[in-house]
Amino acid sequence: MFRLFCLTFFNRLPMIRFKDVSLSLGNKQLMKNFNLRISKGDKVLLAAQSGSGKTSLLRLILGFTDPDAGKILFNKKALTPETIRKIRHQIAYLSQDVDFPNGKVSEVFQEIFQFSANKHLAYSETMLREKISAFDLPETLLTKNTSVISGGERQRLGWILVQLLDRPVLLLDEPTSAMDEKQKQRFIAYVVQTKKTVVCVSHDPAWRIPEMKVITNFTP
């Protein structure tokens, strides 16, 4: 009973909080006194119209953009230059274009898992190979340059990275935009069953499922 209580209680812990956050880009006000509470394990879908600041919301969580006013908290700690690095290490991020650096796929993955913050993770090329075949990608992809692979392949490689990094929080920006229905459903199913906290930006109605909390507006 106590265990159950603990589980429910800790699962409700706020993972990410926006407190009265305002943000403008150029002369466009994207957020005004915006408040948001994402609990541990929540699945959030940002489905506001384009240009409304969905990507900016992800950038704010990552500390790539500073808010004009208000505060962002991650695990109860405010985002500051001192805390941001530790916070980033709990996140895996899929940007809209999945911006892998230039280089052979296998080498790019190798390099990412050699970052000092990722070194402790179990990684081998065999694991990458298994994921590649599990996601219906050709094995020849390993030796291709990231700059010549297709958008769909890139996106699936991004998902592979996210799964191998195994972080508690996933920030996904249009993560299925270049996929067919079957592929898409696979990743939506993954998000639904995972215990991770997920914030996903997408216009795609396929993501509008009951498990996702939908946010469509950042201004009151």
Partner: protein, 263 residues
Amino acid sequence: MNAANISISGLFLGLLLIVPSMVIIWRFRLGFNKQLIISVLRMLVQLSFVALYLKYIFLLDHVLVNLAYILAMVMFAAHSGIRNSSLRLKKLLLPTFLAMLMPTMVTLLYFNWAIVQIDNIFQADILIPIAGLMLGNTLKSNIVALKSFFNMAGKEEKTYLFLLANGASKQEAARPFLKEAIRTAMAPNLATMATVGLVSLPGVMTGQILGGSDPVLAVKYQIMVMVIIFFNSLLSNILQLLFAIRQGFSKSDQLEKSLLDSH
């Protein structure tokens, strides 16, 4: 070992070549006679000064004076390097200065101590010309390195952020830019080494042969000079870019866009 002297009359006759040049420029209406006169006068004044103070510095040959002279050279080099790279001056001046000074001093003293093996490693008439040679080359390659680093960082900021968001430190995320910038900056050095002697005789050799040196000795100097220039530029490039990574990104690792503005 002495070069044939150029007498006053010789100098005068040499400068006399300016006159037919001016006639040609006037005849063909090329329109740069005024610039020519200004340029020649500037050259005369500047080099006369150099002759004067180098003569005294070489005569004096005092360790502190020699070092101060090199310090001044590095300062001018850093200043003009930053100005020519159209990056924001103030923030990068000190790092550029250090990135040039530290490797140059090390290479310079190694050259005198281990390669030429002279007793006084601060000897002015070797220290100063060799420092000038190295700084000239290092300056060029540092500008290229800085420019291409910030160019790439600006253009491929998304890749930088993608890596940063997936576990990289700013140094790790900026490494692709660093690699590319060093490759670009060092490419001319490699090319020069590979083609030296095929087309023209390089400067150091020409100078030494004119100065009366044995061609074999001149070649030995030339080889050593190319090696130390390569080493010095590489070291200086890397330092320069490591400093740039420290300075070019904010406390939360965002790229400082203000550094990219031309002023």
